[in-house]
């Protein structure tokens, strides 16, 4: 239960950690859009890889500033090889044309199939590294506040944004508690002879029921006690309340915003104008 490292906040006092979560969330969305753009023309699809390489370098720089270790990224990518394998098989089975080479003189391997697999794989890796940077440098609570801030306009149409944020933050607060509880109940049932790993289908279903029922019962009890505790301390949904955590926009955030926007503009231009770096450089060289 303690091995869950995906999406975990890693405390450190880096510049990236200190950035405003609203900015971080916004920038991540910009990066995601950049990754989903297509570059170059039909004949110059190597441009995709050149731009991705460029974005990857920037992501690596951000990771270095944020003190997010590469090894952590690799750990998460380990579970990805299976996805890549499936992707590859699907792509190989897809009807295709164009250049190909043969294996065992019968199996046609199209270049495009390999290209498409690599393409999706790179996108996945970039997306995973981006989310990892966000989650490991931003506490879940700060993220919640950022989401709440973005939802503020919806208050006009009576969306209870504050209550939504409160719900999310309490859910986040109780995730470790419930994980501990799961561990405890699993061990208690294992002491009664339950085998959570092996066994026939029917036994497995029973094993899961013996975990889920107590977990639900205790979660309900917890929520009732929690509701009492909140009410006793004067919480009244919908009522006016002040805030302890206030997001503060700093100079650093403005700089980071300008940087992300300029990068976004540049990449967008490269994409729309179908710029081919190779042509550009060879043109410059005369």
């Amino acid at each position: 239960m303690n091995n869950i490292s995906i999406g975990r906040y890693i405390p450190y006092n880096s510049k990236i950690h200190r950035l405003d979560p609203r900015l971080k969330l916004f920038s991540m969305i910009l990066f995601m859009v950049m990754i989903f753009l297509r570059f170059g023309g039909a004949q110059t699809n190597y441009m995709d890889f050149i731009v991705y390489g460029f974005i990857a370098v920037i992501i690596l720089i951000i990771m270095a500033i944020a003190h997010v270790k590469l090894s952590l990224l690799f750990k998460q990518l380990k579970s990805l090889w299976f996805v890549v394998l499936i992707l590859l098989i699907i792509n190989l089975l897809m009807p295709n044309d164009g250049p190909y080479f043969l294996i065992f003189n019968t199996l046609k391997i199209y270049h495009k199939a390999l290209y498409d697999t690599a393409y999706i794989f790179i996108r996945l890796v970039l997306m995973i590294s981006l989310t990892m940077i966000l989650t490991s440098t931003t506490t879940p609570l700060d993220l919640t506040y950022a989401i709440e801030w973005y939802l503020t306009p919806f208050k006009i149409i009576k969306v209870p944004t504050h209550e939504i944020a409160m719900t999310i933050s309490i859910a986040l607060r109780f995730i470790p508690t419930l994980l501990d509880e799961t561990d405890r109940i699993m061990k208690a049932q294992a002491s009664r002879g339950v085998d959570f790993q092996n066994g026939k289908f029917r036994e497995k279903v029973k094993a899961i029921i013996s975990l889920i029922v107590p977990l639900l019962v205790s979660a309900f009890q917890r929520s009732e006690e929690l509701a009492n505790a909140m009410e006793a301390r004067g919480y009244n949904p919908g009522a006016k309340r002040t805030r302890y955590r206030i997001l503060k926009w700093k100079w650093l955030d403005t700089i980071a915003l300008v940087l992300s926007l300029s990068l976004f503009a540049l990449i967008l231009y490269v994409s729309i104008a179908k710029i081919d770096i190779v042509v550009l450089i060879s043109g410059l060289l005369g």
């Binding site: 490292s5 405390p11 405890r184 109940i185 085998d195």
Partner: protein, 286 residues
Amino acid sequence: MPINFDHVFYTYSKKTPFEQVGLEDINLSFNDYKFIALVGHTGSGKSTLVQHITGLLLPDKGVVHVDDYVITPKKKENKNIKKIRENVGLVFQFPEYQLFEDTVLKDVAFGPKNFGVSEKETIERAKSAILKVGLDESYFERSPFDLSGGEKRRVAIAGIIAIKPKVLILDEPTAGLDPQGSKKMMQLFCEINKNGTQIIMVTHDMDLVLEYADHVLVMKDGKVAKESSPLDLFSSSDYKELSLDYPCVFAVATELIKKGMKIDLTKIKNLDTLVEEIKKGRDSYE
């Protein structure tokens, strides 16, 4: 049943910033004692230790022997863990949270059934276990979720007793009960103990240790700090350094001895024996 620990090490959340020592070089062997108490402050490794006896945690290093079975660090080598769990019953702290069936009888029968006991015998065992914990026939078909906290705990304990383990491990079985409830609970364990089941009890209550245990282990920072009979433990000069409580009757007896009364400390187990000794002590005055 012989239980041996051979250079056992265990660390929680290994290789993360939250790494924490669980057990450090534990060497133990207890065979002949009937009632073993395991004491120490929270986080000293008591629960970690008992979870190693039934293979709920596997050692990082070292070996645990339980009867003829061996528990080693490698998951694949531990095929016989289910057999160990049939012989060593573990009742967790607040065990009432592990109930999940719709009737008390079914819930108590769950354990023996998992260990492959025949249908007929399972029901018999369940019924006799429920009666043994002090509940009557009217409870058989009731839902465990409608019972009071103390009754639920009895049902949970019956669920382990029905497995008929040779060793019963109890992790703070009286925590959260009212004094009347705890007293009844201890009477129950005493009876089980007298009928030949070895008991290992994790507790903070030194009065219980003095009254019931014939051997006591003190844990501190993942190590065994002391191992002796309760009397030797409480009379030893370095007990104070462990900053644990003294049993009330023991404290009074030592005060009386200091003031010159002749009292046989080995005879003192509870209030009745203390009064007995005081009577004798006063008689010898006159």
